[in-house]
Assembly symmetry: C2
Homo-oligomer: 180 residues x 2
Amino acid sequence: MSEDPKIVSQKTIFKAKLFEVKELKIERAGKQVVHHTAQRHPTVSVFPLSDDYELYLVSQYRYMLGKRTIEAMAGFVNKGEAPLAAAKRELEEETGLTASHWDELTEIELAASVFKAESTLFLAKGLIQGVQKQDEGEDIVVNKIKLDDVVNKVLRGEINHSATVIGILFLDKLRREGKL
Amino acid sequence: MSEDPKIVSQKTIFKAKLFEVKELKIERAGKQVVHHTAQRHPTVSVFPLSDDYELYLVSQYRYMLGKRTIEAMAGFVNKGEAPLAAAKRELEEETGLTASHWDELTEIELAASVFKAESTLFLAKGLIQGVQKQDEGEDIVVNKIKLDDVVNKVLRGEINHSATVIGILFLDKLRREGKL
């Protein structure tokens, strides 16, 4: 087998608020090629589950997709912030909830070559309702839906946001195995 | 509730081989804001399953992640090509396999705001081995792994590529329900 390809050099050629486009010079099998990637800052996705196995999800209009979606609440991890701290902050901002029990479900890479974007998925249990701090004008609706119904929405393709699908299928799997 | 935000205008400000950066002008609650997104061409991901419930996955070194990953075989949909045709082409190119039975598992959006990238996931069954056409120099290894072992790799976080995780958890769910 040939040697693994490696990044010889890289430079940022475009910087948006939430991602950067990088030009990578790659050495593969003795040859150099140029590859462009877009790298997004890391995010967290939060799956708050009530004692009655109801999941809190958010619904909002996504203009890029041209439709209202159902998604896990998610947000960017601030520089220097631990993913768990970001998850706690995000949950409280979006719903006013705090949780006594947190578990990392998994860490995913949304893609592997053209785009780079990682998200850490957290389960939040032992929920306590506080005061919702959502920004005015934010058109985000929080719904509480039975886990079984949410799983069916995934299987029917009504929920197709990748991190959301993954978290829901993890919860379903854990529940069937008596680990939730 | 306020009106849904809408895209007033958009222009491409950077064009790479496999994605574009677009500058969108968004109208939200009477105000205009500028939002940059990176939009990748659509892909297909293929999950070829043997009669013995073994899944074909590919392993390759991903320099952007700095490690060798296990992923579903995937590829870009050519302009004008149907996703199913792209899936058949991709399967044959990567493995030399053809399949007598195809099912669409689901269609996912990798993200919802900053990045746009959709992938259609296909199950391929009734596999027949032909001749592998993989390009010389491609450092891609095809592995056949028992579905149960693959599911455990997902749960342990050893597989964390999002489309791959989703396909595997779909297959696990369908198998438990006797639908696979």
